[in-house]
Amino acid sequence: VTADAWVTLEHVRFGTLRVPEGEVLHFGGLPGFPGADRFALLRHDRASPFLWLVSLDDPQLCFAVADPRQFFPAYAPVLSAAHLASVQARDERDLELYAIATLRTEGATLNLAAPLLVHAERRRGAQVVLESGDWPLREPLPAPRPPDAARAPAAQIESKPHR
């Protein structure tokens, strides 16, 4: 990455963002947001299981995401060839896995039915809809409030077994 290869964005939530071009992920749209292609995955706190997936095309748009296996170790979605092809991956081992969180004061949920795949090397991301129907669209997070969950040790977060 050369020194001038940065994407700069005035984000309504995060202020001025400067993202190295080499870290921009291309999603080619998400269900409900077909025009949102370029995203950056930002970690705001190393102790938090949540990251922000920030749109570089729409300064209003961002998602809180987390690797769902931090909360639900048994989560093992079956990925099809179409899912792998959507991020130009040959093997699941090439991929990072995230789920979109919906953060509400009354509690947070994770979308386990339509996880995000990220192929960092290819800079591709995709939200895939699992065909099996085994995983819920709004799975409550074990912790009662996200900020507490974000600060709690991982062992406490995982205290409630899944299913």
Partner: protein
Amino acid sequence: VLVLTRRPGESLRLGEDVRVTVLSVAGGQVRLGIEAPASVSVLREEVFERVVQANREAAAAPQAFTRAAGDGAGEEP
């Protein structure tokens, strides 16, 4: 919208490599057979729409949550 009439056993081609065949029509239900490359994702419309709705809720929620809780979740990374 393009409207076509097909009978059981007849097919449609979408592009060169997707074929949709009407297998049977009975009791208000149409059974379809879909042949498509592995790279093509096939979803029921209502399943896709539920994901659209969940994404819209998730995109709206971080702002609402930060306002309601007044916490540090929105600090600059």
